[in-house]
Amino acid sequence: MTHSSPRFPAPSQAKTSQHILRPRKMARIPATVGMLAALAILTLAVTLLSPAFGMGEMSTSFVKTLGKTLCLCLAALAMDIVWGYTGILSLGHMAFFAIGGYMIGQWLMYARTQEIVVQALASGPIPATADEVAQGVATQIFGVVGGSDMPMIWGFAHSLPLQLVLVVAVPGILALIFGWLAFRSRVTGVYLSILTQAMTLALSLYLFQNDSGLRGNNGLSGLQNLPALGDVSQDLVSIWFFWASALALGLVYLGLSWGISGKFGSVLRAIRDDEARVRFLGYPVEVYKLFVFTLTAVICGLAGVLYYPQAGIINPAELAPIASIYLAVWVAIGGRGRLYGAVIGAAFVSLLSSWFTGGRAPSVNLGVYTIDWVDWWQVLLGLSFVAVTLLAPKGIGGLFDRLTGQRPPNRKGAPLGPNEGALQEQEAVE
């Protein structure tokens, strides 16, 4: 990988390197390097300010908030690939995120409850049998929904490796089946969006039932307590998860920016701009779309795995359709079709959102009416979303374009394609 590449490849290089031997170049390397550097600096700063390793200037809960934000950025990256690059506006990726959370939550809750039950039974005069422990765990977990039997879907919950396999497999297979069904029947555009939204709604309605086997609307709780590490303070746990989230974000960012910089990325963008033409050129469009859809679902699942132990609780409300819409909102505000845009958008909007809804934002007194941001933040968010779509389709990313002097592509009156906000300057240059 050459790090010194300018934005436009030199003509000689482009002509001589039409074969596999051509070294892949990172798209927008300054952005990738800048983003990774910023992430490293943030990690260092948080570590130094954290209660566990530093001065303790930052509360444990804020470390967790930042860690969760990094996970949301990771999901937004996936959303950017599937929407900003491939043009599939999925309104279901937060469902994959939550499924990942549910999968790891099963193990966390099971193992933790087992510890407690074993401890409680050990105080008796006679050692407990395996049956008694299993029964005790089931009663502890499912007493709240009136059950005392372990449902089938908890069959792997006793083992972390098996459950980690599920973390990848369940969102992956679900996305694979759904994507295969949707893409093979050529459902595209808004129809696909509505269909993904329906899938999300179906999943959340299913999980809301008490007999779904995942504790209905109680969800899974106590996920912040790590099994076998009950003595470790949350100060330490929070920074561990922050590191893990930062590492995951960094690695995925690096991997994705490598992936989209080559021919693969070009095909994705081509599918976004004119799917039929790509198909006529002989590319298996459905395979590309299915691959991207599944890959991003798995990334979202992994992000959920890191997110929910920091949040401590997961319930079906987490995968309500609105959550996935917010994911799209973050990416749109940050700027589609550029990875750093997704990260900035997710971080900016979700932190701003928690600042406003947390009641910390000062109220605005208008004399006749006081605007309390807890009540009005959603209105502002909704309207600003309309404004971004109408006035600044490039979102915050547009600011960077302006700073670096990039102008929108000039196609001399020809339409800019269906997804103006995601277009990049160099794509317009022949």
Binding site: S185, V379, G382, T389
Partner: protein, 644 residues
């Protein structure tokens, strides 16, 4: 005992029609009336019943209500009524007998058992009461709580009945009681057969107890039992259930639960060992069983059934499901009658389900018809459509706060809701959607923003709790065809409204200038413009119209759904599904889509009752699969109208 009283009562009634006056009877039985017991009261009631004196019923009633008293001075009986001076007295001929101080009267307070006998004797009087209302009340009370004792008085009261309606009611009730309580099986079977194809709930309620079964375990072959079916342990009932049955009937000792075993073992720990087995080794059930058996052998713990003993006990018994009713011919007749009823009821339920499905379809159609215009015809995705529905419902609520009278407020609310949402739709089209016609995905996102903002706005204005939107009284209640099939008027009204909208839509699109222009603009805006049509104006009007219809639908939906800020969200996904499944751009498609979705959802709910969440889940999965086979919906546009 009771049948004895009845026999006496009937004998007296039948043989000497006119015994004595009530006053004479009371004097004769003075001691029994003053200190009644369940044994001694029989002859008194029998004599009273036989007297034919209208005062007899009043006496019994007062007696049962603890309003009968005995004057201490002369031991004479009076009916008591509260009075400032103590009691107002009425003597047993019905004449007023002045008042008396409370201290002069000893009130008679028969115990509950006696009062029960008095009450059932009273039934006979009330069944023959001159007042038809009281007779009807008596019939109702018997029907609600059928008892064997009521049968004889009821039979006795049929012939004297003059009112034909009441007579028919009495005869029906008599047959219902006969089939349950008569002593002659032939009479019971005849009563069962006499109902023919009757579907009444009361008949089913009378037949079902005849077929009540209980599980019985015997060591012999179950002779003398009216056996419904033979139960095989392991197939028809679990081994645990079978053994529990043996324990409850006392045929086997209680099973040793794991908890009890553990406690027993814990109590017997000596030197770290129980029954010769080290405590640390007791980590599985087999080891515990061995330890317990060793303790049993040593006599340290009571004998209790372990697993192999349980198996042996179950094998030694036969298990039956037996009718409580001993007569097999009666149960067979009841079963046949019930089977016939359940076939007819099944057919009725299908009809009822169809009605339910249709009314749900009407609701979906109503919610989706605005969308069929904006999304189906214009191709604009408006995710704020659900909020327009909510807006209509809240308009209805606000109007009801201002305009008195539910009917009047509805008449005001419908046009007002249309006007408001029409305005909102036009504003949305002018300010946002107009700029995004070429970018459908971004239309979707921008209208999502509107949807989020509007929803929060509703929350800020109206709060999070549900607001009532009350339907006018003439929409309350339901049209009941029989015990099974019924449909509420409000659903019929919604069905009618949906049909009205369908007609309106068809007229508008196919018969008016506006419809023509709309179709022209959606097919080819540039060509339409060159023909002198203003596409901007047409788009604005069409979008406003679709939104306005959503507002009207909102008022209608608000009448039966909870009006909250999330009302629209509940319908938006279904509405889009309706349009997509039905086929975009075609009103008949929306109708077909709504019918299919409504019908299927009801069918799934029927297969899996009490679980609407699951029904919705499966419905959505079904839609996703359906789109595989008909990606363009049920009714796909063909040719040029299909666009791209």
């Amino acid at each position: 005992m009771r049948s004895l009283i009845l026999a006496v009562l009937l004998a007296c009634f039948g043989l000497h029609a006119q015994c004595d006056t009530v006053a004479q009877i009371a004097t004769a039985h003075a001691a029994d009336i003053a200190k009644p017991s369940r044994q001694s009261i029989g002859p008194v009631i029998a004599d009273l019943a036989a007297s034919g004196d209208p005062m007899a019923a009043k006496l019994l009633e007062a007696w049962g209500n603890k309003a009968l008293g005995q004057r201490k001075a002369d031991k004479a009986f009076f009916l008591l009524a509260p009075d400032p001076a103590g009691y107002a007295l009425t003597d047993l001929t019905g004449a007023s007998a002045g008042t008396a101080a409370k201290s002069d009267i000893s009130e008679l307070k028969p115990n509950a058992g006696v009062r029960g006998l008095i009450a059932s004797a009273l039934v006979q009087f009330t069944l023959s009461d001159p007042d038809p209302v009281r007779r009807a009340d008596a019939l109702t009370s018997i029907a609600q709580d059928p008892k064997a004792e009521s049968l004889a008085p009821l039979r006795a009261a049929i012939d004297s009945e003059t009112d034909p309606a009441l007579k028919a009611q009495k005869q029906r009730l008599e047959r219902l009681l006969t089939l349950r309580f008569d002593t002659d099986p032939a009479a019971r079977i005849a009563a069962i057969d006499s109902f023919g194809s009757d579907l009444g709930l009361d008949l089913r309620a009378a037949l079902n107890p005849l077929l009540a079964t209980s599980r019985i375990a015997t060591q012999d072959d179950g002779a003398g039992l009216n056996i419904a079916r033979v139960l095989h342990p392991g197939r028809d009932l679990t081994a645990v259930e079978a053994y529990d049955l043996l324990v409850t009937t006392g045929a086997a000792p209680a099973r040793l639960t794991h908890d009890d075993q553990k406690k027993a073992l814990a109590a017997q720990i000596t030197d770290g060992k129980v029954g010769g087995i080290a405590v640390a080794d007791l980590t599985d059930q087999a080891a515990r069983d061995r330890a317990y058996t060793a303790l049993e052998a040593a006599g340290a713990v009571p004998t209790a059934a372990t697993d192999d003993e349980v198996t042996a006990a179950i094998a030694a018994h036969h298990f039956y499901e037996a009718y409580a009713e001993p007569d097999a011919s009666v149960t067979a007749a009841a079963q046949a009658a019930l089977a016939k009823i359940s076939r007819v009821v099944g057919a009725m339920q299908v009809a009822d389900l169809t009605l339910d499905g249709l009314s749900l379809a009407a609701i979906y159609f109503l919610a989706a018809i605005g969308l069929a215009i904006t999304f189906g015809v214009m191709g604009v995705i408006n995710m704020a459509h659900g909020e327009f529905i909510t807006m209509g419902a809240y308009t209805g609520y606000v109007v009801q706060q201002i305009v008195p009278g539910y009917t009047a407020s509805l008449i005001v609310a419908f046009p007002l809701a249309f006007a408001l949402t029409f305005g909102a739709g036009v504003a949305l089209e002018r300010l946002v959607i107009r700029h995004l016609y070429k970018r459908p995905l971004e239309t979707l996102l921008a209208t999502f923003g509107i949807s989020i903002a509007l929803q929060q706005l509703f929350k800020n204005i109206f709060g999070t709790q549900a607001r009532p939107l009350t339907s006018p009284p003439w929409l309350d209640g339901a049209l009941t065809l029989n015990d099974v099939v019924s449909i509420s008027y409000i659903r019929i009204a919604i069905f009618g409204l949906a049909l009205l909208f369908l007609g309106f839509f068809l007229y508008l699109m196919n018969r008016t200038r506006l419809g023509l222009e709309v179709r022209a603009v959606t097919q080819n805006p540039a060509m339409a413009a060159s023909m002198g049509i203003n596409p901007d104006r047409i788009n604005m009007l069409t979008f406003g119209l679709g939104s306005g219809i959503a507002g009207i639908a909102g008022v209608a939906i608000g009448l039966f759904a909870k009006v909250t800020s999330e009302l629209g969200t509940d319908y938006i996904v279904q509405s889009f599904m309706t349009v997509v499944v039905g086929g975009v751009g075609n009103i008949w498609g929306a109708l077909a889509g709504a019918t299919m979705i409504g019908g299927f959802q009801k069918a799934i709910e029927w297969l899996n009752p009490s679980n609407t969440l699951a029904a919705q889940t499966y419905m959505i999965l079904f839609i996703i699969l359906f789109i595989q086979f008909r990606p363009r919906g049920i009714i796909a546009l063909k040719g040029r109208a299909a666009g791209d």
